[in-house]
Symmetry: none
Subunit: 225 residues, 2 copies
Amino acid sequence: MERYKVVICDDHAIYREGLKTVLTQDPALEIIGEASNGYEAVETVRRLQPDLVTMDIAMPELSGIEATKQITAELPQTRIIILSVHSRKTFILEALKAGARGYVLKDSAGEKLLDAAGSVLRGECYLDSPVAGHIVDEYVKLPELSTPAKEQQPQERLTDRERQLLRLIVEGLPNREIADKLCLSQKTVENHRANIMRKLGRHDVIGLVKYAIATGIVDPDSWSR
Amino acid sequence: MERYKVVICDDHAIYREGLKTVLTQDPALEIIGEASNGYEAVETVRRLQPDLVTMDIAMPELSGIEATKQITAELPQTRIIILSVHSRKTFILEALKAGARGYVLKDSAGEKLLDAAGSVLRGECYLDSPVAGHIVDEYVKLPELSTPAKEQQPQERLTDRERQLLRLIVEGLPNREIADKLCLSQKTVENHRANIMRKLGRHDVIGLVKYAIATGIVDPDSWSR
DNA sequence: CATAAAATAGGGTCCACTACCCATAGGCTC
DNA sequence: GAGCCTATGGGTAGTGGACCCTATTTTATG
């Protein structure tokens, strides 16, 4: 009997292991890969073409929702189960709109995840019981949902070079010194800076600092002294 | 052979199961209880008197840190390992101050948790490698752990007004908006700003941000999504 | 190979911030 | 009252960065 191939996406390695042990309790499932952020998720799924993906909704770089969108756009036969701490309607609707077939709360027992896996692999939709009630009435009422839900995630991803520049910018170096340090023209640094700000939708240094801290590009602890 | 009794505290049931499967890989450990928030943790530990507790730092009702404080105050022989996503020094110091003997990042592999369990049960202290470096130098530098390394001498003390301004500046508000918000002239804001920078010896916004974070005037964690 | 993306570099304009002067009003202590 | 600090304003000048372009070289990718 052919086993279903599964990829696990969660930014916490220790939780990936937990998910793995839960999922391997079902002999029909075979874990063939893992990913720790959205980009990795898309890439891994593209490479391994699993039948099922468990996707943490909150991941760095690229959110689980975005990754789900890209995956279902490219490989629509892939079944995706979103794992989330949120039972809020907007999250669930976003997940379903993105193409997820299952939505399981992290508060739930592991059994539910196995139930969900079975359901979505049979082609069904699985919504965790606390969220199911929220949705069904809403779902039939609105065939088309287009709530942008105020995305503040970066629309475009930063390149490695841009992240390098961002680190130096946030350290407080003026463009002149960054240029010297990297043997670049000051103008080039300014251009990178402008590109970073455009991509992030932030328009001042403070915005860059906040983004860099929030995404772990810099560590404020190294400042605390 | 007597097995060590373990209680698992995490607000996500699905992750508790993961932790359970990780911990039961060590035959010397026996999971005797679980808790899903801080109060439950304190109560469960009081009732079951385990040898070891794994404590999620972020739990509803009562944080893992607070629960740790109460447990070690009441049952000091209880070994506690903090599980956290944060590698920030302040969190680690808080955890150690609260009485935790181990600090493991959720990003780490399950093996680390088992290592940590073994270490703290042998009476040692276990710090995850990415956090250990942050701490040790700080530790030897400070005779007393309770000093959060706060005083890094501003040459002159800031006035209350200046701290208020500093908060707004670091939030990213331009002088114009600060002036509007406080019903001041833009010029006054600029003067305050200049005075703050002179007193702190910092000459740009980033310097102010670093000072504000280091002294706790603002909390970067509130920026992290 | 063709194409796109990234990295590099530059021109020019405009504005917020910065530095360094200054003054006044109100409060406090000695 | 004298002296000092704080909060409040002003002037003037310089600078860095934000934002608007164009353009070349390198690298990745189909």
